[in-house]
């Protein structure tokens, strides 16, 4: 039941900050006012209600990998505008703005790292770059990271945070789903371990390709995970959606996630999974 609706159409909210500024931050879920330093220490998880704030790729590098172990690769790959796409804004300008705003070249970072001493290949998506959408570069970097993991016989971890395929690259984006799935199939055929970590939100073409293809699918609590967006479903079926629909807990209940793990326990869980499934093997890289 919604109490207030926006009557006027086309009202645009000003561009959202990646993370809120200020010393005090209000929890988006329970409204608790949180002291920023404490929230940061708590990995951007509300101490009262466990709400997981959306964080950026550099936070995951900090929270999940051993200090200073991240060696980024393919950071220089940049998107171009192959279709000279123009919506409200030119895609080429959107890209420039995103690079400026985030300081990254694309919506994903890839590299080597260590989890409790164990070497891994890690790919981390970043929602702050055009909604974490998957275009040619995201697809390519996922494939490259998968091939690196295959070459070195390392576990692959992909942290997803994405609204889906990037419309401005049209069919090129769509085909990245096939590209990434193909790379993962090869990796899997050669015995590679792939752990998919789904965070809020993971939807559309990203979910319908690499995010759902983990040997183990792990999610943060309360993350929106699905194929179609809730608004599209609501419009299609013409009724309100049940509470908790498409949240991690719902997706686990329906059998598509292996485990839900709080951010503070994620590193330990990843480490355990690697030990249990690949322990004693990962060091044998030839």
């Amino acid at each position: 039941m919604v109490w207030f609706r926006r009557k006027q159409q086309g009202v645009l909210t000003t561009e959202k900050k990646v993370l809120p500024d200020g010393l005090w931050i209000k929890c988006e879920q329970c409204g608790e006012v949180l002291y920023r330093q404490e929230l940061e220490r708590n990995m951007w998880v509300c101490h009262k209600c466990d709400f997981h704030f959306r964080i950026q790729s550099h936070h995951y590098i900090l929270f999940l990998l051993d200090d200073g172990s991240f060696e980024e690769f393919y950071a220089g790959i940049k998107s171009v505008d192959p279709l000279r796409f123009k919506g409200k804004k030119k895609y080429a300008d959107q890209l420039k703005d995103a690079v400026k705003k985030t300081g990254m070249n694309e919506a994903i970072r890839t590299g080597f790292g260590k989890i409790n001493g164990k070497p891994v290949v890690m790919a981390i998506m970043d929602f702050s770059f055009i909604g974490g959408s998957m275009g040619s570069v995201v697809g390519e970097k996922v494939a490259l990271a998968t091939e690196k993991a295959m070459e070195r016989n390392l576990p692959l971890i992909i942290i997803s945070s994405s609204g889906g395929a990037r419309m401005m690259e049209a069919a090129f984006s769509l085909m990245q789903m096939a590209k990434t799935a193909a790379a993962l199939a090869r990796f899997s055929d050669r015995g590679g371990l792939y752990i998919s970590v789904l965070t809020n939100p993971t939807t559309g073409g990203t979910t319908a390709s690499y995010a759902m293809l983990g040997d183990v699918n792990v999610a943060e609590p309360g993350a929106l995970i699905g194929f179609a967006g809730p608004r599209v479903i609501k419009e299609t079926i013409g009724q309100d959606l049940p509470d908790g629909f498409q949240r991690s807990e719902f997706v686990l209940e329906h059998g598509f996630l292996d485990i839900i793990v709080k951010r503070q326990a994620m590193k330990k869980t990843l480490s355990q999974l690697i030990d249990s499934l690949k322990g004693g093997q990962t060091a044998q890289a030839s």
Binding site: V80, K88, M167, A170, K179, A181, A228
Partner: protein, 320 residues
């Protein structure tokens, strides 16, 4: 073919009616009108070529959705008289939005999988407007498993406005079903030939669309989202679908230029909906030829080529 006519088709249809009328008149009244008829027929032929050569992207999209456009079963009746439909995903249920089965195209045994739309209101509902649920993709995968086991090539016919966005579809893992198909199709050890025969919308199309060759009929479209969906996101106005179709470059010709489609299959002049038999004949010939080429490749080479095909799609630049 009678029935629905788009505005841009109207001059042709009217001319055809006139020719038909003259033929009937000449027959009934026994009047010699052959010269006039030939003249008009030549004119109609020229008009058809002119109009269809310069269709806009949006007009192509409309043709791909033409209410009389042949669907998977229309082609099957004509090119696979022994087609035996096999049902169900052995997990949950049978999804009528995807038909799958076995049979022969000419003498070649194949496993065929295709989206299926309905023609009447009743059929449309039964087929869910060609929008599959997860069980459709899982049925397709089960049949591909049969193909791999019995070494039969797979042919998939794509014609969907998208995978169904519903509560049940999400509960049963629409995303997982599609993802799994992409994964398995990318290394299925038999040839896969994929042909877009109508609409190729997004993951719902790709879910049965990973293959060694991607062919597109002349009047079809294939993209990451429907032009309406794109317009709704870009301009908050689904009515701007025409502009979106231009911006996304969704036609067969576009996809050939993008290096995604391998080949455009010509349709009978005026579109596949104007001559089912001829359209099926053309399709049958192309399928047989392409499958014979693919069947000649050793499996390793086939799979390596398939991998490379997808691996190289996309554009980017690299700076240090």
């Amino acid at each position: 073919m009678n029935g629905f006519v788009f505005d841009f088709e109207r001059p042709i249809v009217e001319l055809e009616k006139k020719i038909q009328g003259m033929k009937e008149y000449s027959y009934i009244e026994n009047v010699e009108l052959q010269d006039e008829i030939s003249h008009l027929e030549a004119k109609a032929e020229k008009l058809r070529k002119e109009i269809y050569a310069k269709l806009t992207r949006w007009q192509r999209v409309q043709l791909a959705r033409h209410p009389q456009r042949p669907y998977t079963l229309d082609y099957l009746q004509r090119m696979m008289p022994d087609f035996l439909e096999l049902h169900g995903d052995r997990r949950f249920k049978d999804d009528p939005a995807i038909v799958a089965g076995v049979g022969h195209i000419r003498d070649l045994p194949v496993v065929l999988i295709g989206h299926q739309k309905g023609r009447t209101t009743r059929e449309k509902l039964h087929r869910n407007f060609g929008m599959p649920n997860p069980e459709g993709y899982r049925k397709a995968l089960r049949l591909m498993g049969l193909a791999a086991k019995f070494k039969r090539p797979v042919v998939t016919l794509i014609d969907t406005p998208g995978a169904y966005p519903g509560i049940g579809a999400e509960e049963r893992g629409q995303a997982e079903a599609i993802a799994k198909n992409l994964f398995e199709m990318s290394h299925l050890p038999v040839p896969i030939l994929t042909i877009v025969i109508g609409e190729g919308a997004s993951g719902g199309a790709l879910g049965i669309g990973v293959g060694d060759k991607i062919l597109m009929l002349e009047n079809t479209w294939y993209s990451v989202i429907s032009p309406e969906g794109c317009a709704a996101i870009l301009w908050r106005d689904a009515g701007k679908a025409k502009e979106a179709a231009e911006a996304m470059r969704v036609t067969a010709k576009d996809l050939l230029e993008m290096g995604i489609a391998d080949e455009i299959i010509p349709e009978p002049v005026g579109g596949a909906h104007r001559n089912y038999d001829e359209a099926a004949k053309i399709l049958e010939t192309v399928i047989t030829e392409r499958l014979e080429e693919l069947l000649a490749l050793p499996t390793d080479e086939l799979l390596e080529k398939r991998y490379r095909k997808y691996r190289k799609i996309g554009y980017w630049e690299e700076s240090s």
